[in-house]
Symmetry: C2
Subunit: 313 residues, 2 copies
């Protein structure tokens, strides 16, 4: 594989590189390092929200919107909750069908591999490859509503949180907890009953933010339709993203924000490397079956054993 | 604080210990180690599932069921998605009202603190304290559907996954991905239209499991009602939990399973300790602002920097 092929946008080479990054091949990491100076042009938009809110439909409509505007669109679809190997792949195949003939769209799915910090690290990795390939717009879609999603969104420049009317009561909505990371809020399926109330609830929750400062968050209503940019509100959503971009990434505070983003990435990488090291150390000791047996017998306590293990690394 | 007070079930002392464990006070960890030989009597039941499936109602009904059977019930309510400090507390207060006068129920909420592996570690910690206090039954309820929940469920002896008819299409259901950890499946609100189809879908997905082996998972239909054990199907759910317990934790393979569980706990602890160490090392270097700035400028690549940092720890 040559770096030049990736920079020229060769899909086959890039796909192989992403696979090799998944498998943690040292040569792939070297390629990523070599590509790094060529990155920094892509604008990353994260899309997350409640399950059932129609995130993938919003993503599809946004792809069509950005394609109509002449942008090349990369998509990272992050599915941390899929222990079924088939989960992400199935979703992927359905999407692929729609965009299979468009060389201006590249979709990559990531499923959990069960290692801590892995998803956020992989998202950054894939986004950098897409960036180097010349995709100006990278959409990061996540499924589910956990800490994973919040971590993955560290890679995005603008984070869009999609919700929908009629998803349980207020407490349920607070629990979804993604508000904290939202730069733009979407009330999708806004032709449904309850859209007004949902918007009011969101405004109320923005006021209640624990942080104290009232972050300005635009609320956009959409009725997204698969594969078409004509979905109601999609142009407004794209405009809200650009407004956030102009406010945050082009002003005087942009440099500080870029530094904070790099720092988050670095933190993820360091934690992931340490987790790798711990996993390796434990497998080297035969998975610690003997020690675990003594814990199960209550003859050794797990906290003391863990301290000893970490001390010996 | 004396260990004896916790062992005697003193609520005030136990609550203080749990708070001190949250704050990682060394004295609290020492207390936990001293309590460890007195644990191992509690049976831990995990309850997770789709948001909006009525998990907390099922938990409430189970509390009433076990109380009616004369068991003391501890509850760990894990809310990894609540960046609002008020989220878990609000939910807690609502429950507390219902069980405030019952000394046989102790509820503890855990919200994320943003550190990797923290929630699962804290769940094990609190469960051990409740166990030492003499709570024979500990319910672990999680909110949300991410890798966090899957990790938290490592602490449970039996994992109940709650779903509900009419939550989006099949792909959405696969994405929720919690099936892999389910020992018992609940179709709650089973008076709703679509309960038959939901049960059929679940059976179909169990057959599709990636692992190949067909794990026996009982499916129970419930119509849970807050604060009463009379909810339809709750006795059947409790019976399904006991059936799983008899099959898995009392047979010849029980020792191996206990060892695997201890090993999972140990893995969590080691990873969490390493993550702590990384965080500490990075704060000691002023949060690495300078290095992060050079990454943001693209003059240094994050992967090389991370390797150097981990190498120097």
């Amino acid at each position: 594989m040559t770096i030049e092929q990736v920079l020229a946008g060769d899909v086959r080479t890039a796909a192989r590189l992403m696979r090799d990054l998944d498998d943690r091949k040292p040569s792939a990491l070297d390629a990523l390092k070599a590509l790094f100076p060529h990155t920094g042009k892509a604008y990353l938009v994260g899309i997350t929200g409640n399950p059932g809110a129609g995130k993938s439909t919003v993503v599809d409509a946004l792809i069509a919107h950005y394609r109509a505007a002449g942008e090349k669109v990369g998509v990272v679809c992050v599915d941390p909750t899929s222990p079924f190997s088939g989960g992400a792949i199935l979703g992927d195949r359905i999407r692929m069908q729609r965009h299979a003939l468009d060389p201006g769209v590249f979709i990559r799915s990531l499923a959990t591999r069960g290692h801590l910090g892995g998803l956020s690290r992989s998202t950054f990795d894939v986004a950098h490859v897409l960036d180097a390939m010349g995709f100006e717009r990278v959409l990061i879609e996540t499924v589910g509503v956990g800490q994973d999603e919040v971590d993955v969104m560290k890679a995005a420049h603008t984070t869009v949180v999609v919700t929908v009317p009629g998803l349980g009561d207020d407490i349920q909505a607070i629990k979804s907890g993604l508000l904290e990371v939202a730069d733009v809020l979407v009330v999708n399926k806004s032709d449904r009953e309850g859209a007004d109330r949902t918007e009011r609830d969101l405004l109320h929750m923005l006021d209640l933010r624990a942080s104290g400062e009232r972050k300005e968050v635009e609320i956009v209503r959409t009725i997204a339709t698969k594969g078409t940019s004509a979905g109601s509100g999609i142009a407004e959503l794209a405009a809200a993203v650009e407004a956030h971009r102009a406010k945050v990434w082009q002003g005087p505070a942009a440099a500080d924000r870029a530094t904070a983003r790099a720092q988050a990435h670095l933190g993820e990488l360091v934690r992931a490397l340490l987790a790798d090291r711990a996993t390796k150390a434990m497998s080297a000791r035969g998975g610690l079956t003997e020690i675990a047996r003594s814990i199960a017998d209550h003859t050794a306590d797990p906290w003391t054993v863990a301290e000893q293990l970490v001390g010996s690394l």
